[in-house]
């Protein structure tokens, strides 16, 4: 009897194992294959640290590792989703001004040299301009302004010494923009022939044609990556590349390359494709040269703020899908955005557009402008549709308050040079935010000493508030400080955000293990967990 029972139990257990393992087997990751992705343009260089464009981050992030990283499998980046990478663990001292990383041992660079704490020290010395072989361009130097020095303790421990506590210091390490570079490779070499510790080795970059990466067989995460290779083809014409994706030439589109109107075409012609609409965390923003009369008058700037009808712009440009937003991306994707009830109170955000514009016209009339005496202004922007389209709508809206705008399209390659030289009065610009964190966004775009503060807006009080929120350990208090900064920025019309765009990224159903991040486009391109179910 007992043996029968035992046999029955054994049989049931075996059946259970078979039944439960069957679906698992169906979902087991398959190794091999080449992931084919198209690239939208000709990337400037392979050096992530020297560029501020997704065009470089997306293909090259897989070559590298960070100290820590945003979890590639979670859609939303937050402090809670930061996971170890080259650092096995990290700890703060009691004063919260020393951050120590315990580094992984046995990791090798793609050229076979060992990874050590010296590489970490060297990377951040280059980022802070302390290394003789510093970066030719250093767009995120302001991120590390609070970093005093990096010390090493042996080969596998590195400590970052800060001038003052900074709550979100760790989040900057987790961005795709913050890989660890090898100390023994020059910054020049890294622009053309990058060496990393990551899952994919760089093979070839044919300008205007293709990029190729192959699996790193010595990757320190055993069994990863699943893919044998990743091949990118540069297709600058958007119609061609979308048609090529529809024709199944590619497994994945470039991130957020499928605009809302184009998404309908993709859905109808490639119904099996998986498409996700997400915020790009790239804002369309208005830049005003505060040194150019009459825009040095805060009254005019306020009138302009009141004239903007953001909802109409969003309805026309993205069929209502983009985010009405302040400086920080709003919920549900954003962690720090102003709640709608507070946002409404900012100038130009209130619901009654007619009332706002009536107030704006009164301001303009008090300054001597009216239907017979309009203020003539050139609205400058890059010669790219995503810049031009909102600029055209802005001109139309400014007409309502006696401002007669004329569109000035600038050759895209010299846009930043012209803006830096202040050769504009009013402009329409786009700004991407790599990490959903106030320090990254506020220091980079609004602090007095940031090189990427394009309008060179400088308000010492706002700077103090930015420092204050940066040191605030209590998250709720910090949020309130951030919203106060947002209020001041809106009142000063400091690079006001018109909207944060949303667009789709699509992939073929055979692409597995890929998770699109929804509050940053810059942080999820490691591709080590991606596999092809062919």
């Amino acid at each position: 009897m007992n043996s029968r029972l035992g046999l029955a139990a054994l049989g049931a257990a075996a059946l259970a194992v078979v039944l439960t393992s069957a679906p698992c087997a169906a979902l087991a990751q398959k190794s091999g294959g080449t992931l084919r992705i198209y690239h939208r343009d000709n990337l400037p260089s392979a050096s992530i640290h020297e560029e501020a464009t997704i065009s470089t981050v997306m293909p090259f992030m897989g070559v590298f590792n960070n100290l820590v990283l945003y979890d590639q499998a979670k859609k939303l980046n937050s402090d809670a989703t930061i996971v170890p990478d080259l650092a096995e663990s990290w700890s703060w001292d009691a004063t919260r001004t020393k951050l120590t990383f315990k580094l992984r041992q046995g990791v090798k660079w793609h050229d076979g040299k060992p990874f050590t704490a010296k590489d970490v020290q060297c990377t951040w010395n280059r980022l802070t301009g302390k290394d003789p072989d510093d970066f030719r361009k250093n767009p995120r130097q302001v991120w590390w302004q609070n970093l005093k020095e990096v010390s090493v303790n042996g080969d596998y421990e590195a400590t970052f010494h800060l001038n003052r506590p900074q709550g979100s210091f760790l989040s900057m390490f987790a961005s795709g923009y913050t890989p660890v570079y090898p100390c023994h490779v020059s910054t020049k070499e890294m622009r053309t022939n990058p060496i990393g510790t990551g899952p994919f080795k760089f093979v070839e970059f044919r300008r205007g044609e293709s990029l190729k990466f192959v699996r790193n067989p010595d990757y320190w995460k055993k069994g990863l990556p699943y893919l044998d290779a990743i091949e990118w083809r540069v297709i600058e014409n958007r119609s061609t590349r979308i048609l090529a994706f529809i024709a199944d030439e590619f497994d994945l589109t470039f991130v957020t390359d499928v605009s809302i109107p184009l998404l309908k075409d993709v859905n109808s012609q490639a119904p099996k494709a998986v498409c996700e609409v997400a915020p790009t965390y790239v804002s369309s923003n208005l830049i005003i040269n505060p040194g150019a009369a009459p825009f040095n008058d805060p009254k005019i700037r306020r009138a302009m703020a009141l004239a903007i009808d953001r909802k109409t712009m969003i309805d026309i440009l993205s069929q209502g899908k983009s985010n009405l937003s302040g400086v920080m991306l709003p919920a549900p994707e954003g962690n720090w955005g102003m709640p709608p009830e507070l946002l409404k109170q900012l100038p130009g955000y209130g619901g009654d557009v007619a009332k706002n514009r009536a107030e704006a016209r009164k301001i303009m009339e008090s300054l001597g402008y009216g239907p017979k005496k309009t203020l003539k202004v050139k609205v400058s922007t890059r010669n790219i549709p995503i810049y031009r389209d909102p600029a055209v709508l802005l001109i139309d809206q400014l007409k309502q308050i006696y401002i007669e705008g004329e569109l000035e399209v600038i050759d895209t390659s010299i846009w930043h040079a012209k803006v830096t030289r202040k050769e504009f009065s009013v402009g329409m610009n786009l700004t991407g935010v790599p990490v959903d964190d106030p320090d990254v966004n506020l220091y980079e775009n609004y602090s007095c000493n940031s090189e990427r503060n394009l309008t060179q807006y400088c308000n010492k009080e706002v700077d103090k508030l930015i420092d204050q929120q940066s040191q605030e350990p209590d998250r709720d208090k910090r949020k309130k400080l951030v919203w106060e900064i947002e209020r001041r920025l809106a009142e000063d019309l400091a690079r006001p955000i018109i909207y944060y765009d949303r667009a789709a990224t699509c992939w073929q159903p055979r692409v597995k293990g890929f998770v699109l991040h929804h509050n940053s486009i810059y942080n999820n391109w490691r591709f080590e967990n991606v596999w092809l179910d062919r």
């Binding site: 464009t53 020049k188 622009r191 205007g208 061609t240 090529a244 030439e249 390659s413 846009w415």
Partner: protein
């Protein structure tokens, strides 16, 4: 004849020198240089770092020194380094030339073959239904921009065959490459063929009304012999001129076609290099294209003699 050839050779050298000066100066008159563009992708400009790069690239030198350095290098076969990729310019340019040359050659063959044949048919069958159809086709060829035609071809291929004829990697065989380049060549050659067709038609009609053609017919020469032996040879002279000019203009058509069909040719690369103010690439490529145009014109001049014995290169 030899005197003419020597004169033409020196004239070619003078033309190339003029072009080298014009392109060199014009590039430097365009607002912004490579350092502005290098910084553009970083979203800011740092004046100190910008100066450092300008010094490294020799852009802080007087313009005459820069020109002398470039021409001196060119004479030695040293094309310099591409600013963007930091690779030798020759290494960047050389692999792209055959791709564009094949595309341009194929487009030229397409335009000449179709243009001349259909032009003759249209003239011989003047005012017939076929003539009207061909005239409409030629008008549409002149009116349709090649980028639009290219996109229509791509959309049709995706819609009907689920396949897109874009360039992926270098094809393994000549025939595969021919197959891949045929559609873009047709897109870019369609406009030229329309032009050649119209010119052939009008030229043929003019010749067919000449006395010697009437005489040939009166003597009882077969219609085929009159049209193709007596008339076509003389009607081709202006056609050869226009084909020569079109060969030079083809580069303009290639730019958009290479972009739409994603062909890694020299024309698209040139536009990209201009956008990046990559002076070594632009200067050397323009000189190369100028050399081709000058040579094509020279060959056209020589063809005149072959086609029309009345033309002689005298004093």
């Amino acid at each position: 004849m030899s005197g003419y050839l020597i004169r033409r050779f020196f004239l070619m050298l003078v033309t190339l020198f003029g072009i080298s000066v014009v392109i060199f100066v014009m590039l430097r008159l365009v607002p912004g240089n490579i350092t502005d563009i290098i910084f553009d992708s970083a979203g800011f400009v740092n004046p100190k770092q910008k100066q450092r790069i300008e010094r490294e690239l020799g852009l802080d030198q007087p313009i005459v020194t820069q020109y002398a350095r470039w021409i001196g290098g060119l004479a030695r076969g040293d094309l310099g380094y591409a600013y963007v990729s930091e690779k030798p310019a020759l290494q960047e340019i050389a692999p792209r030339i055959p791709v564009s040359a094949k595309l341009a050659g194929l487009a030229l063959v397409f335009s000449t073959l179709f243009g001349v044949t259909l032009g003759v048919v249209s003239a011989v069958r003047q005012d017939s239904t076929l003539d009207y159809v061909l005239r409409v086709v030629s008008l549409s060829g002149l009116s349709l921009p090649s980028f639009w035609l290219g996109l229509l071809i791509l959309m049709a291929c995706v819609q009907w065959f689920g396949w897109i004829p874009i360039y992926r990697s270098t094809p393994e065989s000549f025939w595969k490459e021919l197959g891949l380049l045929a559609l873009p060549a047709a897109a870019v050659g369609f406009r030229s063929s329309a032009l050649v067709m119209r010119l052939t038609r009008s030229s043929m009609l003019e010749v067919l009304r000449q006395d010697y053609v009437r005489t040939a017919r009166a003597k009882g020469a077969p219609e085929r012999s009159v049209n193709y032996r007596h008339a076509l040879g003389n009607a081709l002279l202006p056609v050869v001129t226009i084909v020569g000019i079109e060969a030079a203009f083809l580069i303009g058509g290639l730019i958009v076609t290479e972009t739409v069909f994603n062909i890694p040719g020299v024309a698209r690369f040139l536009v990209e290099a201009i956008r990046w103010r990559d002076y070594p690439i632009v200067q050397n490529l323009v000189m190369f294209i100028a050399l081709i145009v000058v040579l094509v014109n020279f060959i056209v001049d020589l063809l005149y003699v072959a086609l029309d014995p009345r033309i002689k290169f005298g004093n």
